[in-house]
């Protein structure tokens, strides 16, 4: 059975062999739970409550604490190429709409744009993931400065992983959250799942960059074709946190990893880092990946399980 639900800003699809409504309900329950906790757009979310309390050691739920801890570890590992504090920058570029309610969320003054953001944040270049402090004993999070936390690249993956953990006993299942995937076991034909990788310049849905066969793995891709900013000159949605400009070194970055959380975060980081440093990062973790430049040059890890090359 397969069910598709509109959530987390995209369409989430879960496919499971057999008829197990209750299991799929529980799997989607995790998505709902993660979304209500970690949404940047919902003022009632735990994440937004946290960002409203600057300078205080705020006790965090396991979910938020683990998500932030992981995001900081990736930020540290990538030298800030991945940075969960890009929130203000995202907002300045027009990512201020709650895609669920259609409401515009604004923590910046009116007159959107990069100029307004620079005005609202006196020393924007100085804000980084290093302004977030964790206390592992008390499980508290302290934000040392006003900032907007954007855990998007982490929590969608985490929701996929929690849902896949929920479905683990069924062995054969697939979770698709807007092109971020986890494939458990085998497909209905009894083979490892066949996963196409979207061509970043495809004019046709059938045009794929590559395809891979995977089992019990997450496949996530960050591309410059993702949801466009509503600000005319805002560019695509992945910023290089080190320069505050849209990342331009890659058109698409794909990572295959044991968890979607890791695959999604590293795909985002590799997209920012570009082919050389990006692949270095992926290989350092013993993972497989494929990075394509805007000129459509391919860079893949030696063990990338391509079906075409």
């Amino acid at each position: 059975m397969t069910r598709a639900v509109a959530m987390m800003g995209t369409i989430v699809t879960i496919q499971l062999a057999g008829n197990h409504e209750d299991a799929i309900d529980r799997a989607f329950g995790w998505f709902r739970h993660v979304e209500s906790c970690c949404s940047r757009f919902d003022p009632a979310s735990e994440l937004r409550q946290l960002t409203a309390r600057i300078g205080a050691a705020v006790p965090a739920s396991d979910l938020l604490y683990e998500a932030v801890q992981f995001a900081l570890a990736v930020a540290e590992e990538t030298g800030g190429a991945f940075d969960p504090t890009v929130g203000h920058r995202m907002e300045a570029r027009g990512f201020d709409r709650n895609y669920r309610s259609g409401d515009v969320v604004r923590t910046l003054p009116k007159g959107s744009g990069v100029a307004a953001w620079r005005q609202a944040t006196p020393d924007p270049e100085a804000i980084s993931f290093r302004d977030i402090e964790l206390d592992p004993d008390e499980r508290t999070i302290t934000l040392r400065r006003p900032l907007v936390l954007d855990l998007g690249a982490v929590v969608k993956g985490l929701a996929i992983d929690l849902a896949s953990r929920e479905l683990r006993t069924f062995e054969d299942f697939a979770i698709d959250a807007g092109g971020d995937l986890y494939l458990g076991g085998r497909n209905p034909e009894g083979l490892p799942w066949s996963v196409g990788i979207r061509h970043p310049r495809a004019q046709d849905a059938d045009e794929l960059l590559d395809s891979v066969r995977v089992s019990n793995a997450a496949v996530c891709t960050s591309g410059d074709y993702e949801r466009r900013s509503t600000v005319p000159d805002g560019g695509h949605h992945i910023l290089d946190p080190r320069t505050n400009e849209p990342a331009a070194a890659a058109a698409s970055a794909t990572v295959i990893a044991p968890t979607a959380m890791l695959a999604d975060a590293l795909a985002t980081a590799a997209f920012v880092l570009g082919p050389i440093d990006g692949l270095r990062l992926i290989e350092r973790h013993g993972l497989e990946g494929l990075i394509v430049t805007p000129a459509l040059e391919r860079f893949a890890t030696p063990g990338f399980p391509s079906e075409r090359h």
């Binding site: 739970h33 395809s211 949801r227 968890t259």
Partner: protein, 240 residues
């Protein structure tokens, strides 16, 4: 160039992500939720219960079908809030693509492993309302049964609603049908894109036409998925 310390951190990321998933999962839905609510203090949060876009029955193939096949038969006249005779009386000229439920394979043919449902899961799920079942604690972790939250009243009024979503490829109109406060059907009723509706059928959601390029799934977000999501959200905003 990379020092030993960065290598150590690098190795930890794989383990860290797995540990994070286990920690959150083992803590279970209720515990994480409790902490979240503690943070909010006395304030009561109205959470939006996202729609489960379900069609009445799985369809057998991926061919585009009409809207009436997606929306279950209505015993009483369906209140159409934003009357668009195009949909009510005559089918849209473009093929209408069902999106609520993907064409499920008839049976998992060559899969030897039959899915197993642990008794604990079955029991807790059976006791919980189907629509609002929260994730329960894993069978191999904290055995404490998670209590489902009290069902919230549906924010939606019954009817059929329309919404538009736009991507750089063009616009998609979604139709959402609500019955008894629940979403029972959802479909693309119109698409004004640079490409034909059959192209959209390949992308929204991918499962509708998974035969595309002979792969099961495609990694990488699609514009038309976003557009469809936006269209559903707009349609639902009219249902409140």
């Amino acid at each position: 160039m990379k020092s030993g310390s960065s290598r150590r951190i690098a190795n930890n990321l794989v383990a860290l992500s797995s540990a994070a998933v286990l920690t959150v999962y083992a803590a279970g839905y209720m515990k994480t939720r409790a902490a979240a609510q503690r943070l909010e203090g006395a304030g009561h949060r109205e959470t939006f219960d996202p729609p489960a876009l379900r069609a009445p029955a799985p369809v057998a193939d991926a061919a585009p079908r009409s809207l009436t096949e997606v929306v279950p038969p209505q015993p009483a006249p369906q209140p159409v809030v934003e009357a668009k005779p195009r949909v009510e009386a005559t089918p849209a000229p473009a093929p209408v693509v069902p999106v609520a439920v993907a064409p499920a394979p008839a049976a998992p043919v060559a899969t030897p492993a039959e899915p197993l449902t642990p008794p604990a899961q079955t029991a807790s799920a059976a006791a919980a309302p189907a629509a609002a079942t929260p994730p329960t604690a894993p069978p191999d972790a904290d055995p404490k049964p998670a209590e489902p939250p009290a069902p919230k009243p549906s924010p939606y009024k019954d009817g059929t609603y329309f919404g538009w979503g736009t991507s750089r490829h063009g616009s998609i109109e979604a139709t959402v049908t609500i019955e008894g406060g629940k979403i029972v059907g959802s479909a693309i009723s119109q698409c004004l894109t640079r490409y034909s509706c059959s192209w959209i059928a390949h992308l929204v959601p991918q499962v509708v036409a998974r035969q595309s390029a002979n792969v099961d799934y495609v990694s990488g977000a699609t514009q038309s998925t976003y557009a469809f999501y936006d269209a559903v959200v707009e349609a639902l905003s009219k249902a409140k």
